[in-house]
C-alpha cells in the first residue's frame, strides 16, 4: 500500500503542469545560483591568493629596518574562503576578509564584500543557500498543500476509506511521494556541488564528509517542512485554506522568526557602539604600561621592578634593550585589554545565540541555518575563531619583533635595524578552521532542536492522520 500510494502520487505530481513548471523554475534558479556563486567564489579566491602572496612579499622584502617600525608597518591576516561557502555564504559577505595586524592595536576584519556593493545589493543575491533555505521549502508547500485536501474535495477519500487500507501506510505513501522529488533534487544539487568543489584547485581542502553532513541537515529541514505541510493538509478541509496556512508557516518560519530573532537578540544583548568600544579600550589601556611612554607611572614601576630583578642600578646595565622590553610589556597589557573587551563582545554574541536557539523551537529554519553556516565555515563563530587566531598571530609577531629588538640592541638604541633576511623568518599566518567533529559538538543544541522538529513533526503527522 505504501509503494502503491507512492507511485500513484508521483504519477499525479508529474502529470500536473504546475509541478513541472515549479520544478523547471527551481532547477533553473539553482543552476543560475550555482553558476553565479562559483564565479564569485573563483574571483574571491584568486584575489585572496594574490593579496596573500603580495602582502607576504612586501613583508619579506622590507630590507633592513627597526623591528618596531616593522611592527607599525604591519601585515595582514587573510581569511581563507572555504569550498562549502559556495553552497552557504553565511555571514561571509558582512564579516570582512582580512585583518590588519600591527603593534599596540587589535583591528577588526575589513573589506567585506557587502561594502563593495551598491545600494542595489539590498535586493539580495541569488545564492544556493537562498534556494536551499527559502525556495525549496516553498516548493514543498506548493507540491504538498493539497495532498490530503484534494482527496476530500475530489471525493476519492470515501472510496479510499471503504477499501479498508491502513491510514499510516497511506500517509507514508503520500509522504514518500512528496519527499522523493525533494530528495532527488537535493541529492543532485549536492552531487553537482561536490563534483564542482572537489575539482577546484588551491582553495582549501574540500571535504565530502562536510558536504554530506550539510546535505543531511538540509534533508532534515525539508522533512520537517514536508511533515508540517502534510499535517496541515490532513487537518483542514479545503485546499485553499491549506495553501494559506502552509504559506503562513513558511513566512513565519523562514522570514518572520529569523528577523524577529535578530531584533530580539540585539535588543536583549546589545553590542556596544564602535565609539563606546574604542573609549572603553582606551580607558583600560591607560591603566597599564604604554610601550611608547617611558615616563608614565606604570613604566617607572616596571623599570624599578626589572632593575631590582637583575640587581643593577641603570637600564644601560641590563643585558637587553629595555625600550624593547617595555614595548613588549606594553603589548602584553594591550593584548589583555583587547582580550577582555573582545571577550565581552563574544559573551554578547553567545547570549544572542541563546536567544536564536530559544526561538528555534518555533522555526526549523534557525537550527538549519546555524548548522549549515557552521559546516560551511561561514558563521560568526568561525569568524570569531579566525579573528582570535589572527590576534594570537599578532601577539606572537609582536613578541618575535620585540625580542629581536631587545636581544640585538642596547637601551636607548632606536637606530637598531634588523637584517633584511630577518623578516622571512616570521612564520606565515595559517588558519585552520574547526573540524567537522568539533563543529558538530559545538552545534549539539542545534542538532537536538532540529532532531526534535524532525521526529516531533513526523510523530504528530502520523498521530493526527489516524482520524482522517
Amino acid at each position: 500500500m505504501i509503494a502503491n500510494t507512492f507511485f500513484k502520487e508521483t504519477k499525479e505530481l508529474f502529470r500536473e503542469g504546475r509541478v513541472r513548471i515549479a520544478f523547471i523554475i527551481v532547477v533553473l534558479l539553482l543552476s543560475l545560483a550555482i553558476g553565479i556563486s562559483a564565479r564569485q567564489y573563483a574571483n574571491v579566491n584568486a584575489q585572496y591568493e594574490t593579496a596573500k602572496s603580495s602582502e607576504r612579499a612586501l613583508w619579506d622584502n622590507q630590507g633592513e629596518k627597526n623591528p618596531h617600525s616593522a611592527a607599525h608597518y604591519g601585515t595582514y591576516a587573510f581569511k581563507p574562503k572555504y569550498p562549502l561557502s559556495l553552497v552557504d555564504q553565511g555571514v561571509d559577505k558582512y564579516t570582512g576578509t582580512s585583518i590588519f595586524l600591527e603593534a599596540h592595536k587589535r583591528n577588526e576584519a575589513q573589506f567585506s564584500a557587502a561594502t563593495d556593493q551598491t545600494g542595489l545589493a539590498r535586493f539580495g543575491d541569488l545564492t544556493p543557500d537562498f534556494i536551499l533555505l527559502f525556495v525549496i521549502p516553498l516548493l514543498i508547500v506548493l507540491l504538498g498543500y493539497n495532498s490530503f485536501t484534494k482527496e476530500r474535495e475530489m471525493g476519492t477519500l470515501t472510496l479510499l476509506k471503504s477499501q479498508g487500507g491502513t491510514n499510516w501506510r497511506w500517509v507514508l505513501g503520500k509522504w514518500l511521494a512528496l519527499f522523493f522529488p525533494i530528495f532527488a533534487m537535493t541529492t543532485i544539487l549536492f552531487l553537482v556541488a561536490g563534483v564542482l568543489l572537489s575539482g577546484l584547485k588551491d582553495f582549501g581542502v574540500f571535504s565530502w564528509k562536510s558536504l554530506f553532513a550539510m546535505y543531511l541537515v538540509f534533508l532534515a529541514y525539508y522533512i520537517v517542512f514536508i511533515n508540517l505541510v502534510l499535517l496541515i493538509s490532513a487537518r483542514v478541509k479545503k485546499s485553499g485554506v491549506s495553501l494559506v496556512a502552509a504559506l503562513c508557516i513558511w513566512i513565519v518560519a523562514c522570514l518572520g522568526v529569523p528577523k524577529a530573532a535578530s531584533n530580539i537578540a540585539e535588543t536583549k544583548h546589545p553590542y556596544p557602539t564602535r565609539q563606546e568600544f574604542a573609549a572603553n579600550v582606551l580607558a583600560d589601556k591607560k591603566e597599564g604600561v604604554d610601550g611608547h611612554n617611558p615616563w608614565s607611572k606604570e613604566a617607572k614601576l616596571l623599570e624599578e621592578k626589572v632593575l631590582k630583578e637583575h640587581g643593577v642600578d641603570s637600564l644601560h646595565q641590563l643585558p637587553f634593550n629595555f625600550d624593547a622590553y617595555r614595548m613588549q610589556k606594553g603589548e602584553e597589557h594591550e593584548a589583555e585589554v583587547y582580550f577582555k573587551h573582545y571577550n565581552y563582545l563574544k559573551n554578547q554574541f553567545s547570549n544572542q545565540s541563546k536567544v536564536y536557539k530559544s526561538l528555534a523551537a518555533i522555526s526549523p529554519y534557525l537550527p538549519t541555518r546555524f548548522l549549515s553556516m557552521s559546516i560551511a565555515h561561514t558563521d560568526y563563530a568561525t569568524h570569531w575563531d579566525f579573528a582570535d587566531a589572527a590576534e594570537v598571530y599578532r601577539i606572537e609577531t609582536q613578541k618575535f619583533l620585540n625580542d629581536n629588538f631587545a636581544q640585538n640592541s642596547e637601551y636607548g638604541n632606536w637606530e637598531y635595524q634588523a637584517e633584511a633576511s630577518f623578516w622571512q623568518s616570521l612564520p606565515v599566518f595559517e588558519y585552520n578552521p574547526p573540524e567537522l567533529q568539533e563543529i558538530m559538538v559545538k552545534n549539539t543544541s542545534n542538532l537536538f532542536i532540529l532532531g526534535i522538529w524532525l521526529f516531533g513533526s513526523f510523530g504528530v503527522l502520523l498521530l493526527s492522520t489516524k482520524t482522517i
Binding site: 500510494t5 502529470r15 471525493g155 476519492t156 472510496l159 476509506k161
Partner: protein, 237 residues
C-alpha cells in the same frame, strides 16, 4: 451478509436513523427508497463504519461493523452517488491503485478483464479518467468491486445523473453481481430502476423503514403508489 439490528443514529435531538432492522442475503439486491433525509445515506455510512451508531448494531458477513470496522471493509465495495476517481490517472491505473489499497495486486491482464467485465470499452481502459463520463466512472467503480471480490456492495444513488442507457447498463452489471452471490444494498430515488434490479425494496421516511416489499410481487405502479402513500403525498389522477 448484511444485517442491522435496531440500528439508530442520533445527531443531538435529530433522529437520522431509528431502529432499523434489515437483512440482505447473498444474491439479493435491496433497494432503499426514500426522500432526501430519510436515512438512506446514514444507513450506508453506518454499514461502512464511517460513523458510529447511537444504538443497535450492524453486521457485514457476521462481523460487527463498529467493532471490526477494518475487517468488514475487506468484504464490501462502495460506490457513491458521484464516484470520483483520480482524473490524471487512467482507468487501469485507478483500478490498480484502489485494488492495491484493498491489498490486491493485479496483473495487467487482470485489470483489463475486470474493466471489460464491468462494461468499459477496451479502448477506454488506458485513457485518463478526466475524459470519462459519469457512467464510465461508475463502470470503473464496479470493476473495483469485482477486483476486490466483494461479497457486499453498498451503492448510494449510483444511477443519479446517468442517462437511461448508462443506467440500464449499470442495472445489468448489478444483475451480474447478484448472480455471483453479491449482496447489494442500494439507496436510490429511482423507483423504476429499483423495480428493475431489486429483489427487495424498502421505503424509508424520517429515519424509519416504513415498508419492506418483495420486488417480484409488486408492479411498478403499485410500488409508486406505496411510495407516495408512505411519503403522505396526495396521489394525483
Amino acid at each position: 451478509m448484511i444485517i442491522t439490528n435496531n440500528l439508530s443514529k442520533h445527531y443531538g435531538n435529530h433522529v437520522a436513523l431509528d431502529q432499523l432492522d434489515l437483512q440482505v442475503k447473498a444474491g439479493e439486491i435491496y433497494c432503499l427508497l426514500g426522500a432526501n433525509g430519510a436515512g438512506k445515506t446514514t444507513t450506508i455510512n453506518l454499514l461502512l463504519g464511517f460513523i458510529a451508531p447511537t444504538s443497535g448494531s450492524a453486521f457485514i458477513n457476521q462481523l460487527n461493523v463498529h467493532e471490526n470496522s477494518k475487517a468488514t471493509k475487506q468484504f464490501l465495495a462502495y460506490i457513491p452517488e458521484n464516484l470520483m476517481l483520480y482524473p490524471s490517472l487512467s482507468a487501469r491505473e485507478n483500478l490498480d491503485y484502489f485494488s492495491g489499497i484493498a491489498g490486491k495486486k493485479l496483473s495487467k491482464s487482470e485489470t483489463s478483464n475486470f474493466l471489460e467485465e464491468a462494461g468499459l470499452q477496451t479502448e477506454a481502459i488506458d485513457k485518463r479518467i478526466s475524459s470519462f463520463s459519469k457512467g464510465m466512472r461508475q463502470k470503473v467503480g464496479i470493476a473495483i468491486a469485482l477486483a476486490k471480490d466483494a461479497k457486499v456492495l453498498l451503492l448510494d444513488e449510483p444511477t443519479s445523473g446517468l442517462d437511461p442507457k448508462a443506467s440500464n447498463e449499470f442495472g445489468q452489471l448489478l444483475q451480474k453481481l447478484r448472480e455471483k452471490g453479491v449482496a447489494t444494498l442500494m439507496a436510490t430515488h429511482d423507483l423504476f430502476r429499483a423495480k428493475e434490479v431489486a429483489t427487495h425494496i424498502g421505503i424509508m421516511k424520517d429515519g424509519q423503514l416504513k415498508q419492506q416489499l418483495i420486488a417480484s410481487d409488486i408492479s411498478l405502479q403499485a410500488l409508486e403508489k406505496a411510495y407516495l402513500e408512505t411519503m403522505s403525498y396526495q396521489i394525483l389522477a
